[in-house]
């Protein structure tokens, strides 16, 4: 009979089985509460050890596991929150750009109507309003396109879907160029300009198409 003091000194890692085993397993010695006694088979040894573990290992062994678990839980929740917030922020930004594009198109439409429904030499203010709205449109659309590009860079998007999106962006860019031709083409800026209602109508239609295309991006 061997006395173990303190009791956990009797335990060790078995090299092949990888379980907590007895230090003196060959001799079938089992220690419990500092008191060791002989057992007659390996099963008995294991049983004794299980029982010993159930009764409670030293407090800091369990604490390690608890701390490790807490650490991983915190890490997981941090990563999850970070990803969630970044996704929410991105989609909020995209929505903001879409809304701003739509508003600048409304403004272009209003000022263009005000311009193309009148005759003669209009003061520069009329053109400047159109330019100002136009600059907002190009700024916000540029931001939206680069945001989409950026998102696709880090996202596993199917090649086919990405190509479709690129095509839609190019279509929108082409529509913006067409709208520019319509709004500032013809007699735009001419002192002898005549009202052009059909042009005003085309501008309205193009703005509506663009708004719809932007929502699809």
């Amino acid at each position: 009979m061997k006395l173990c003091s303190p009791p956990y000194q009797c335990f060790k890692e078995h090299p092949t089985l990888g379980v907590v085993y007895l230090e003196d397993v060959d001799k079938n010695k089992v220690c419990k509460e500092g008191d060791c006694h002989i057992v007659h088979s390996t099963n008995k040894v294991l049983h004794s050890i299980d029982k010993r573990l159930e009764e409670g290992s030293p407090w800091h062994e369990g604490a390690h596991l608890v701390l490790l678990g807490a650490f991983f839980a915190a890490l997981f929740s941090y990563i999850f929150t970070k990803v969630h917030w970044s996704t929410t922020k991105k989609s909020e930004r995209m929505e903001f750009f879409r809304r701003s594009i739509s508003e600048s198109l409304d403004s272009i439409e209003t000022h263009s109507m005000g311009y193309w429904m009148k005759n003669g030499d209009l003061p520069p203010m009329f053109r400047n309003r159109i330019y100002a709205s136009w600059h907002l449109l190009t700024k916000f659309s540029g931001e939206l396109f680069s945001q989409i590009d950026e998102e696709n860079k880090y996202k596993i998007v199917k090649l086919k879907k990405r190509k479709e999106q690129e095509k839609t962006i190019n279509d929108v860019k082409a529509k913006i160029f067409e709208l520019f031709e319509e709004v500032t083409g013809g007699d735009f800026g001419s002192k002898r300009m005549a009202a052009d209602t059909s042009r005003a109508q085309r501008i309205c239609i193009k703005c509506a198409h663009l708004k719809a295309s932007i929502q699809c991006l």
Binding site: R127, T184, K191
Partner: protein
């Protein structure tokens, strides 16, 4: 390097296509400012055109006549313009106009139209 500042050397409010549209038309800009400046460049010299500054914006009518007209009327080839003309701006809003200028130049056909002045 020669410099042409549109807002300072030409007009703060460039607008209109032909001479008949007003004093700041694209035709006047091309005939009286851009063409002489490009024509007077020495070998390997470049022309820097500043398109922002005092200017609020441009219409396509002005840009087409002012820039694409150089190719359309056979004054300069597209390659010459690409090599010798630098379009500058500090306001990022004007990037759009720069792209449009090059787009108009690229889509113009060399010597496709004989120039007839609209000046009265």
């Amino acid at each position: 390097m020669a410099i042409l500042n549109v807002g300072v050397d030409f007009d703060k409010d460039p607008s209109g296509r032909y001479y008949t549209d007003g004093p700041a038309s694209g035709e006047r800009f091309r005939e009286e400012f851009l063409k002489p400046k490009l024509g007077s460049l020495s070998r390997d010299e470049k022309l820097e055109i500043i398109i922002d500054g005092e200017v609020e914006g441009y219409g396509s009518s002005f840009l087409v006549e002012g820039f694409a007209g150089l190719v359309k009327h056979g004054y300069f080839s597209k390659d010459f313009l690409r090599n010798r003309m630098i379009i500058k701006f500090s306001d990022p809003d004007f990037e759009f106009y720069r792209d449009k200028i090059w787009m108009y130049i690229d889509s113009a056909r060399f010597r496709s139209e004989k120039y007839a002045s609209t000046k009265r």
